[in-house]
């Protein structure tokens, strides 16, 4: 990948491989359902500034009564300062999706780098990196993420960093195992024998073979990253200037919405998290089934 584009031969084969993958994916009912939900949620999140008026999010400009049950004008009721819960939930999707995908991307990059490096160079590099990966795999990721986001300044970037640098070990283990398998194949051996350097072997042969499975894992990582984001926001470690589902649940708890029985304030943000996380999980599992030949056709 770093050594320029794929050859014409590969380019000709790629569309058909994609189409074949899509045909296999279409048979996964859960995956198709998850994908449909995701497309809908992403479209809604992107269209929030076009379809709604962000002025409704401003605490100083609301005229509604606080904690009003759902009714005309406010389909999902109002929060503790009189803002529409529907509007808050709609805008909250943006932060959850943004942080979830950025953190998962960061974790994918770190995990792939560590995994490929460990497997390709072997020896001491492998020992040290594997030891480090195992250390971070066992370490409670959320506790570490809490520590990071407490000491660094509050903001979306900090949250992405905190989740990204704590969730890569699984990807690293997977990539390492995959790289070890791919490297024993004759075509990689041939490339080496013909004098291909590390860059060539990794970029042209190893990475393209490993990346599809990394993609499936990353989809699953997005799910756990969204849960982690909402948990950090719920603990008050999120970006205070942005609305997120976790932060909404935090204010619901802090302002006594639970004791007041304000179910309309508790349900939407939590359901939002659950639906998006479930959709990513379903997509990730289906991708794994399609891409991992070992699982294919066994109904797992």
């Amino acid at each position: 990948m770093t050594t320029g584009g794929p050859s014409a031969d590969v380019r000709a084969r790629r569309p058909s491989a994609l189409a074949e993958g899509w045909r296999a994916y279409r048979n996964e009912r859960g995956g198709v359902f998850g994908l449909a939900v995701l497309v809908l949620v992403v479209l809604l999140a992107l269209s929030a500034p076009l379809l709604t008026d962000p002025a409704g999010l401003d605490v100083t400009r609301v005229e509604e009564a606080p904690l009003r049950p759902p009714g005309a004008g406010h389909w999902l009721g109002t929060d503790e300062s009189g803002r529409s819960v529907l509007l808050l939930t709609w805008w909250g999707a943006r932060v959850s999706l943004l942080v979830g995908s950025c953190a998962a991307a960061l974790s994918m990059v770190i995990g792939t780098l560590v995994g490929v490096t460990a497997a390709h160079f072997g020896g001491w590099t492998d020992t040290v990196l594997l030891r480090l990966t195992d250390f971070f795999l066992v370490l409670p990721a959320l506790v570490l993420a809490i520590a990071l986001s407490t000491v660094l300044s509050r903001g979306v970037f900090t949250i992405v960093l905190a989740i990204g640098v704590t969730s890569w070990p699984q990807t690293a283990r997977l990539v390492r195992a995959q790289t070890l398998t791919v490297q024993t194949r004759p075509y990689v051996e041939r490339a080496r024998a013909l004098g291909g350097g590390h860059r060539h072997v990794l970029g042209r042969h190893v990475l393209p073979a490993v990346l599809p499975l990394v993609f499936a894992t990353t989809t699953l990582t997005v799910a756990s990253a969204i849960i982690a984001e909402s948990t950090l926001s719920f603990l008050g470690l999120g970006d205070p200037s942005r609305i997120s589902w976790g932060a909404m649940l935090k204010s619901a708890m802090d302002t006594g919405a639970v004791t007041a029985g304000a179910w309309w304030y508790l349900f939407p943000p939590g359901l939002g998290i659950a639906v998006v996380v479930l959709a990513f999980t379903l997509c990730g599992r289906s991708l794994e089934t399609v891409l991992n030949p070992r699982l294919r056709g066994e109904g797992r």
Binding site: R131, D134, F135, L137, V138, L139, P140, A141, L142, V143, L144, I146, A147, L148, T150, V151, L152, A223, I227, S230, T231, F234, L235, G236, L237, G246, L249, A252, M253, V258, T259, G261, W263, L266, P269, G270, I273, A274, V275, V277, L278, T281, L282, E298, G299, R300
Partner: protein, 342 residues
């Protein structure tokens, strides 16, 4: 032990040093990990913040003089290497420093809160493991049927729900009560002030308080164990030894219980311990929601200030206990699995 050695002959004498080597390697690995936790703890809470005194006082205005005093009290006016040396020395003596908010030793605070967390997390983990293994076994044994699909969907859905949200919902439904229904369970804490004296009433009172937090944790955690057990048992389903067992005329139940499950259990055990970190994460939010006076609530209280020495203490204690438990699991695995032992 000596008896088995004598009877085992030459093959045994070769196994014992190898086992010792394995134990030594695992213990060495754990020691390195614990060392890394200490270094990470120092780096996270002393180096990364830049000026910890300023971080701790960011919610309240303080004078330069107060800041200097604070820096002196926590030894922050020393050079970094001297701080690290003192930190390691104190850690070796079991001293985790003084809390900024409570003005008491961190070890003392953690000691007080350890019991409730062990009680809650221990109970929830045991229940979640039992429930998860049972459901996973049933789902895999009937794999492809409606039962399997139902268990899997419920598991996946619960797995996607944030723990604290489920806690809030249960708190509202069963703690506060909905509409005319009164709350069935206490909404906060671990015990009521008006409990009659005697051991049994107090135990029952704590159990009553523990129902909601425990159900929340179990609901979310068991899903993972169920999925692991299910796929682990599915791997065994095609195995020939099951056909042999059936050919011997064993009943379906006996094949499952006596042959398939014990083999599928092994990979699950490792994963159960590997996911302890996740249980700890769940405990932090659940304790926050239900005001359960454990380490999780202590962490939440500490991060609101933020009380860096206290956070450092809870970080080191939580991370080390997970590492210790994992090492124990790896050693136990060796004992349980004859394939690894041989």
């Amino acid at each position: 032990m000596t008896d088995t050695l004598e009877h085992g002959g030459t093959r045994r004498s070769g196994t014992v040093p190898r086992t010792l080597g394995f134990v030594a390697r695992k213990l060495g690995g754990a020691a390195v990990s614990l060392g890394l936790v200490a270094v990470l703890g120092f780096f996270l809470f002393r180096v990364l913040p830049g000026d910890p005194a300023r971080t701790m006082t960011r919610s309240a205005p303080v004078s330069a003089e107060q800041l200097a005093q604070l820096r002196h009290r926590f030894g922050l006016d020393q050079p970094l290497y001297a701080q690290f040396r003192d930190f390691l020395g104190n850690l070796a003596r079991g001293d985790l420093g003084t809390s900024y908010t409570y003005n008491r030793p961190v070890t003392e605070l953690i000691g007080e809160r350890l019991g409730p967390t062990v009680l809650l997390v221990g109970t929830a983990t045991v229940l979640a493991v039992l429930l998860g293994l049972w459901l996973g076994t049933r789902a895999a044994w009937r794999h492809g049927t409606a039962t399997d699909r139902w268990f899997t969907s419920v598991g996946l859905t619960l797995w996607s729900v944030p723990t604290f949200w489920l806690g809030l919902l249960l708190l509202m439904a069963f703690g506060v009560g909905v509409g005319p229904l009164p709350g069935l369970f206490p909404v906060a804490g671990m015990s009521s002030p008006d409990v009659p004296p005697g051991v049994l009433p107090r135990v029952l009172d704590v159990a009553h308080h523990m129902v909601l937090p425990c159900v929340t944790l179990v609901a979310v955690i068991h899903a993972q164990f169920m999925m692991v057990m299910r796929s682990s048992l599915l791997e065994e389903m095609g195995a020939e030894y099951l056909t042999t067992a059936r050919a011997k005329g064993l009943r379906d139940d006996a094949v499952r219980r006596g042959h398939a499950v014990p083999n599928a259990l092994l990979p699950t055990v490792t994963l159960v311990f590997l996911h302890l970190g996740m249980v700890v994460a769940g405990a932090i939010t659940v304790e926050t929601v239900f005001s359960w006076p454990g380490l999780g609530l202590l962490t939440y209280e500490a991060l609101r200030v933020p009380d860096l020495p206290l956070l450092q203490g809870t970080f080191i204690v939580l991370a080390s206990s997970v590492i210790v438990m994992n090492t124990l699991a790896e050693l136990l695995y060796r004992v349980l699995d004859p394939r690894v032992r041989a």
